[in-house]
């Protein structure tokens, strides 16, 4: 039993050490990654800075915002499977659109 417990302790030490090691490596990786890539592309939808020093307004505004966000959520989740613009379909859509175009062009020109 004592031997087993000692083994368990060793596993814990090595295990937690490895987890911390891997996570610290990830930390470095993430820092490097954001450094190397951040400046090149600024039109992202990443979160804007929120400072904690904002006044009371924040709390009140938040209540309004929740309602808005929930309404948006509702709206955006209403069509969750709209045909996506990927290659399998987009190629087809392209073709179909072109065809419709030709037909409509014909009809409109009459």
């Amino acid at each position: 039993m004592t031997a087993n417990l000692l083994l368990a302790l060793q596993i814990t030490l090595i295990g937690m050490g490895l987890v911390f090691g891997a996570i610290i490596l990830l930390w470095g990786m993430m820092t490097l990654l954001t450094k190397l890539t951040a400046d090149k592309d600024s039109a992202s939808d990443s979160p804007k800075p929120v400072s904690a020093s904002e006044t009371e307004t924040l709390a009140r505004a938040a209540a309004v915002a929740v309602a808005l966000a929930m309404a948006e959520q509702q709206l955006s989740s209403a069509h969750p499977l709209k045909d996506p613009p990927t290659a399998i379909v987009s190629a087809w859509q392209l073709g179909m659109r072109t065809r419709q175009m030709a037909q409509k062009g014909y009809r409109l020109s009459r």
Partner: protein, 375 residues
């Protein structure tokens, strides 16, 4: 043709019913009750409960190798396909930008895994063999698919209690964590405000992150590759923005079908013979301890960061490092907000929370690596 034997044959269902079946059916009803009326992880506990119900109807044959639940078990649990498919969907739902905006939050995702190893030690002390002790410990990953993946490899005989513990306690987090938060932090610590002014995260960063992470973790902890890579594949499908078709499939049909089948197949392992023993009780208890140990370790590490940073880090976000996304993150933010209504630490807590998700998978892989070598 033996016609006289028909009568006993027709009552055979009742004749084969044991008290063990009865107890397990009560357990199944309890799970279904929690799922339906208490809304505790219903997408998993409802199928698990129903699977357990079916496994305890004598002679129904659904859990036999050629029965439906047996077929699903072989196809998706034994091959580990179902938890991995679920991870593709989960990955497509996760947003890693709060973590990328504040990479040092990652550290908290390591601390919050202590419950895994602490519980392993306790399980060894209670006499479980190493493979079972490790599987019980991984309840402390507080992440269903990770727990199921590791338990399937190390101790499939404990799959049902481990999965039930992992998913049941997940919903008890709002009950387990707050007392520990208040117990282990001072009012001064809980009042610490954190500035949130990160660099904006570019789309390029978001796309490279899952790829680099898969490579980094994969090369260091090969055992974690299946889990981490499927999580990251799902995330890549989403953030790439060019395969919305596949991203939607991952978030809808793939995860839904895998979840239903996984639940049924795991519930079907809850037979009286395998489930009704003291070990199950011990596992449920150890699972609860694992959740508590994770929280405690996360908070203590948060306190350490608080002190080292000169009270610039609110230690409550340590409790968010346990994974259990996004409940733990929200709880930490709420507790800080309760103390001071102008204190918003949600984005930091979410960063720690996402790191906890990664830490859980890594810890699961590390555990698999060490233990498969030792047994």
């Amino acid at each position: 043709m033996d016609f006289q034997s028909l009568i006993p044959e027709l009552a055979k269902g009742l004749l084969h019913f044991t008290w063990g079946n009865g107890v397990m059916i009560l357990a199944a009803l309890a799970l279904i009750y929690l799922a339906v009326f208490k809304e505790i992880e219903p997408v998993l506990l409802l199928p698990i409960g129903f699977g357990c119900l079916l496994a305890n109807i004598p002679l129904a044959g659904m859990t036999a190798a050629e029965g439906m639940l047996g077929v699903l078990y072989e196809a998706g649990i034994k091959t580990e396909l179902f938890p991995l498919l679920i991870f593709i969907g989960v990955g497509a739902m996760i947003d890693f930008s709060p973590l990328l905006a504040q990479p040092r939050m990652a550290l908290l995702g390591a601390a919050g895994q202590f419950g895994i190893f602490g519980t392993l030690m306790l399980a060894i002390a209670l006499g479980f063999p190493l493979n079972q002790a490790a599987s019980i410990g991984v309840i402390g990953a507080i992440d269903g698919p990770t727990s199921i993946f590791v338990a399937t490899k190390l101790a499939p005989e404990l799959l049902a209690p481990i999965a039930v513990a992992a998913y049941s306690y997940m919903s008890l987090i709002p009950i387990i964590q707050p007392p520990l938060m208040r117990l282990l932090t001072t009012k001064r610590e809980r009042l610490v405000q954190m500035e949130y002014a990160p660099k904006p995260i570019s789309k390029r960063t978001l796309i490279l992150f899952p790829i680099v992470l898969t490579l980094t973790v994969g090369l260091l902890v090969p055992e974690a590759t299946p889990l981490i890579s499927m999580l990251m594949l799902g995330n890549l499908l989403k953030v790439s923005g060019v395969v919305e078709r596949l991203s939607k499939a991952a978030q809808n049909e793939i995860i839904n079908i895998a979840t239903l089948f996984l639940g049924l197949a795991i519930g079907a392992t809850m037979t009286a013979k395998d489930f009704l023993n003291f070990d199950t009780g011990k596992i449920m208890l150890l699972g609860l301890i694992a959740f508590a140990l994770d929280t405690v370790a996360g908070l203590l590490f948060g306190k350490l960061m608080c002190v080292l940073s000169g009270y610039k880090v609110n230690p409550l976000i340590g409790a968010a490092g346990i994974s259990a996304f996004p409940m733990a993150g929200r709880l930490a933010a709420k507790t800080a907000n309760d103390e001071n209504p102008h204190n918003f630490i949600l984005m930091h807590a979410m960063g720690a929370n996402t790191a906890g998700q990664l830490g859980s998978v890594i810890a699961g892989g590390v555990l698999l690596a060490i233990v498969s070598k030792l047994i």
